[in-house]
């Protein structure tokens, strides 16, 4: 009896033909770099990573139709050549000449995070895009309008069919596809990584810089991710927006002025620095840690209680080490670039 039903089902399946061929997605595995810890969670637990899902996510990531002005895409602020941050912008441009309230984070190694945004307000990679998509000072769009626009774009039909089995465009599919793209962005092949693997040598300056990093920065900016993804107050004076960081999410005064420790990978390209982009070069960052920390703040991280002392030469050595964290195999990887030529708004 069961066999009969199974036979009927396959015959029925073969009978239905929407012109896009059979549904046979190519499964992918998230490649964990050698020696790295496994992510604590699994961002793809309910979102099977496939080549087709990745390609749909990539197409959506670079599609200006996700915003009110039809031109601003995720890729407008998350620029691959800047490790998916906004190059040289403290705050990014939203639609209609608005500004974001924080610096656009670089996007890579997201699978190792358990929350997203400077304040950790996003608890799952799939729901992150809802925030910039609907924010008036970012993409300024509604989900209803996006569905309407994408439904008039016939180029999406074969992508949705290939990734999800039929042409239907839903918010869930859009969000899962975007997560398959962004979750796949892995940066693990910088000069530092190759030095650690023994395939190249550091200069003496870079080696000195590494030693300084180990002694002064590595507790928070831990190898190999160069962050521990925790929330800490590094003594930055509160900014003109009164941005209290993580406290806005948890409501706890003990979280006042705490922000997510960003990765130091690709810092050469993710300038300017901090949650509001207040420092436009690495020298200013290091100077902050030496002499700029506001020691009156009750939530100042205990690891920063002890002053950091550097000579001018040591600052340079540290900066040269930080440059070794640049991963051009990531920033130039065509797989993460737009699939076709697009024009950026600026």
């Amino acid at each position: 009896m069961i066999l009969l039903i199974a036979l009927m089902a396959t015959l029925l399946g073969a009978a239905k033909d929407d012109g896009y061929g059979p549904f046979k997605p190519t499964p992918l595995k998230l490649a964990i770099p050698k020696g790295w810890p496994k992510p604590t969670g699994n961002i793809f637990a309910k979102n099977k990573l496939t080549e087709e899902g990745f390609q749909l996510g990539r197409k959506l990531f670079y599609d200006g139709n996700l915003s009110k002005d039809g031109v601003t895409s995720c890729g407008s602020c998350h620029q691959q050549f800047a490790a998916f941050s906004t190059y040289d912008h403290d705050l990014s441009h939203g639609v209609e000449n608005t500004f974001t309230s924080r610096n656009a984070p670089a996007l890579f190694n997201l699978a190792w995070m358990t929350s997203y945004h400077w304040d950790g307000g996003i608890n799952h990679i799939e729901v992150q895009p809802l925030s910039p998509i609907t924010a008036h000072n970012e993409m300024g769009e509604t989900l209803e309008n996006i569905l309407a626009k994408l439904n008039t774009d016939s180029s999406y039909s074969r992508f949705f069919k290939a990734a999800f089995g039929d042409k239907a465009i839903t918010t869930q599919r859009i969000l899962k596809a975007l997560a398959q793209f962004t979750g796949s962005l892995i940066s693990s092949n910088s000069r530092y990584d190759q030095w650690k693997n023994g395939t190249l040598k550091f200069t003496p300056v870079e080696e000195s810089g590494y030693a300084l990093y180990k002694a002064n920065c590595s507790s928070c900016h831990k190898e190999p991710l160069f962050t521990d993804n925790s929330f800490r107050n590094n003594g930055l004076p509160i900014n003109r927006f009164g941005d209290a960081g993580r406290q806005r999410i948890t409501g706890l005064s003990s979280d006042s002025l705490k922000f997510k420790v960003p990765s130091l990978r690709n810092v050469q390209y993710s300038v300017p620095y901090m949650h509001d982009g207040r420092f436009n070069d690495l020298d200013k960052v290091i100077t902050h840690y030496i002499s700029g920390i506001n020691r009156q703040q009750p939530t100042l991280d205990s690891l920063l209680q002890k002053p950091i002392v550097f000579t001018e030469r040591q600052k340079l050595e540290l900066i040269y080490f930080l440059y070794t964290l640049t991963d051009t195999s990531f920033t130039k990887n065509k797989r993460f670039a737009p699939a076709q030529q697009i024009t950026y708004k600026h």
């Binding site: 039903i5 009927m8 608890n123 729901v127 809802l130 925030s131 869930q172 969000l175 806005r248 409501g251």
Partner: protein, 233 residues
């Protein structure tokens, strides 16, 4: 082409025959939510008063009802809209039932499991984009007692973590025992009294609650007192 249709027809008949012979006949349960304030049915044009005398109108009233328990547990989330779909229908095994309960809100796991669809689709405007999590109960309107922008009232009660979680299990003893037979449809009419929502609350003090925290938790503490079984049909 006709071969395809014949195949489909045969398959359909076979599956129907199998279905009726292999599976027990469920009954249908309808939970119909009737919303009142000041003893009157809530509607868009109505003018209502909170227990401490503040006048208000209601433009939006929707909330999540999930994880219904009637004998067994039904892991499904529904969105009730006082000005739209205000009843929930479900298939239940035949039996005699003395107790009904449901969760007002969305359970913790679904709040952090990524993009959902159906009632939980962010299209329903019940999901916070900046602080991931569902709005369990949403009430909007206008009141002269509100000093907020445009005299608005926005009570977006949400938060799923720790001591400020805003989900509440609402339980009922069914005083008239509910007996559901195979293929029978029964309706439980549940009255939702908005006067109880404002208990210990005040439009003047807190016309707008749109973040998780102690104010949202205090509002949620009123949820169990808002619901009662009015009739069992």
């Amino acid at each position: 082409m006709s071969k395809k249709i014949l195949l489909q027809a045969v398959a359909f008949v076979v599956i129907c025959m199998l279905h009726s012979s292999l599976f027990a006949q469920n009954g249908n349960l309808v939970l119909k939510f009737v919303h009142i304030a000041n003893g009157k049915i809530v509607h868009h044009n109505g003018m209502f008063t909170t227990p401490n005398g503040e006048p208000y109108t209601i433009s939006k009233l929707k909330y999540y009802v999930s994880n219904v328990e009637l004998g067994k547990s039904f892991q499904h989330t529904h969105l009730v809209n006082a000005f739209g779909a205000d009843s929930i229908e479900m298939k239940v095994p035949p039996g005699n039932y003395r107790q009904l309960s449901f969760l007002l809100g969305v359970d913790s796991l679904l709040n952090c499991s990524g993009a959902q669809d159906g009632a939980l689709d962010p299209l329903n405007d019940m999901f916070w984009t900046w602080n991931s999590g569902y709005v369990m109960f949403k009430l909007e309107g206008i009141s002269d007692s509100s000093h907020a922008d445009l005299n608005r009232i926005e009570q977006h009660i949400g938060g799923y973590k720790g001591e400020n979680k805003t989900m509440r299990r609402i339980s009922f003893d069914l005083n008239e025992k509910l007996t559901i037979g195979p293929k029978e449809t029964h309706t439980i009419v549940i009255e939702v009294d908005l006067d109880k929502f404002w208990d210990k609350g005040s439009i003047a003090k807190n016309p707008v609650i749109v973040i998780p925290g102690v104010l949202a938790k205090q509002a949620a503490d009123n949820f169990p007192f808002m619901f009662r079984v009015k009739t069992i049909l």
